[in-house]
Amino acid sequence: MSHAGRFWTVFVRELRAAVRTRAYLGLLAVLAAALFGVARAGGGPAGGYVPTVVDLLVVVEVLVPTVAFAVGYRAIADPADRGELDVLETYPLPSWAYVGGVYAGRSAVLLALVGLPLAALGVHVATTAGPETTVFASHRGVDSPLLYLRFLALTLWYALIALSLAFVLSALAGSRGRALVLALAGLLVVTVGGDVAVFAGLDGGLVTSETLGGALAMTPAGAYRGLVFDQVLYVAVPGRSAFVSGAVAVGSLLFWWVGSLVATELVTDAR
């Protein structure tokens, strides 16, 4: 069997485990209720896709990493605790194939958990929004389901990045107890810590009004928010331009995504 085949074996086991984990159904229901509740409370679905995104953005910034950390915080710590990683070291299974297989399996779970409620909400908007909502946003100021699809794609990517951050913390933890503590700390850093650090830098003079956009784009949440503004919200608002550079935000998200996965592989390999 090739290493790709071994990757597949690990991936399939993760999927089987996920299908049998009923708690994920509860998580899906809670997340769907929260997203629909927030959107309906804000009145976004009646106004169109962009108003719905406006309603959801802040909540999604917190909820999506929370769900990602719930899915991933024990991904490496649990098998380390069980001694499974020691046993697997005696197999011809490189750590990249193991980490990659587990990550791919849990990513599939996460994409379903986040994607299904958001897609359902998109359908809900399509059936309740006013006639000014069109399929193609031919010019600024026009709402469109394609803008919502951009929001969905960016949010799913943000979820995968948050999952990779949960993975590296799980690998560093090495035990369930430490995994929970590190996950909570990591979640706080991802959801609010980055912004707090940037504004502290602004207050201390380390960050200026000229470099504020770039500094915000350095954090996963700031980069995601910046891209949503750039690619979704400001497309529909004439005369507005993004507060972060799109290229810097994409680079930042790629750094956190790939960097976390590489770090997870290195930490797991060095155990």
Binding site: M1, G5, R6, T9, R13, R16, A17, R20, T21, D78, P79, R82, G83, E84, D86, V87, L88, E89, T90, Y91, P92, L93
Partner: protein, 241 residues
């Protein structure tokens, strides 16, 4: 009956900060034989097994594999094997078998678990869990199998069954290294015994030769070989290293 050496530790040392877990340990693990490691708690048995497996890097010396080429060279049964809950016995062994293109049913039959293949792995008794661990250790047909306390905490009948399985593994030509406190079973099963104390090998010999040193049962020889006061201090310092 012992064959050629498949695995050897050469002047291996292992320290954790100021604590010495292994000191200048040399040991051969031959094919077609069971090599038993015995010694008080904290004497370095588990550390030596982990160094032999490559799970711990020695701070001195080397470990060399001389066995035949194999898709998986070393099989390993940890002291407390725990499997991912939510899967059946067959699915669990199937995962490990898939990694090395082995047949999960053959592995289950080998350890006598074919009849409980559909049982949830988290519903197995301690003995059955240990047998499943041995089946996992045999996946890929490794030439060397390392078993850490394969019968600890099990009832006498199950311990005997486990050691019978271990003996049959060596009879198939493998090199088996194990640690155990079950002296009567080790004495019956092992072809060679290495006595460890305070991280050092006190002696290596056949069970018969060791018994002859005191003329009594093996535990008397074992006790006479050890400096008990020192052993207790070592156990307190390094735990069950």
């Amino acid at each position: 009956m012992t064959g050629e050496t498949y695995l050897s530790a050469n002047e291996v040392g292992k320290t954790y900060g100021d604590v010495t877990a292994l000191s200048d340990v040399s040991l051969d693990v031959p094919a077609d034989a069971v090599t038993g490691l015995i010694g008080p708690n904290g004497s370095g048995k588990t550390t030596l097994l982990r160094v032999l497996l490559g799970l711990e890097r020695p701070t001195g010396g080397t470990v060399e594999y001389h066995g035949p080429d194999a898709v998986r060279r070393l099989g390993y049964l940890p002291q407390r094997p725990t499997f991912r809950p939510g899967f059946s016995v067959r699915e669990t062994i199937g995962f490990y078998a898939d990694l090395v293109d082995d047949d999960p049913d053959r592995l289950l039959e080998r350890v006598g678990l074919a009849d409980v293949a559909d049982r949830p792995v988290d519903g197995l008794s301690g003995g059955m869990t240990r047998l499943l661990g041995i089946a996992q250790a045999l996946a890929g047909d490794p030439p060397v199998v390392v078993l850490d306390e394969p019968a600890s905490g099990l009832d006498p009948a199950m311990s005997e069954l486990i050691f019978d399985v271990v003996a049959s593994i060596a009879d198939e030509g493998r090199a088996v290294a194990l640690s155990s406190h079950e002296l009567s079973l080790v004495e019956r099963t092992a072809d060679r015994l290495a006595v460890l104390e305070s991280g050092a090998v006190v002696t290596v010999d056949t069970p018969e030769a060791l018994r002859e040193r005191t003329g009594g049962p093996l535990h008397e020889t074992f006790t006479s070989l050890l400096d008990r006061d020192d052993a207790v201090v070592t156990a307190a310092e390094v735990g069950d290293a």
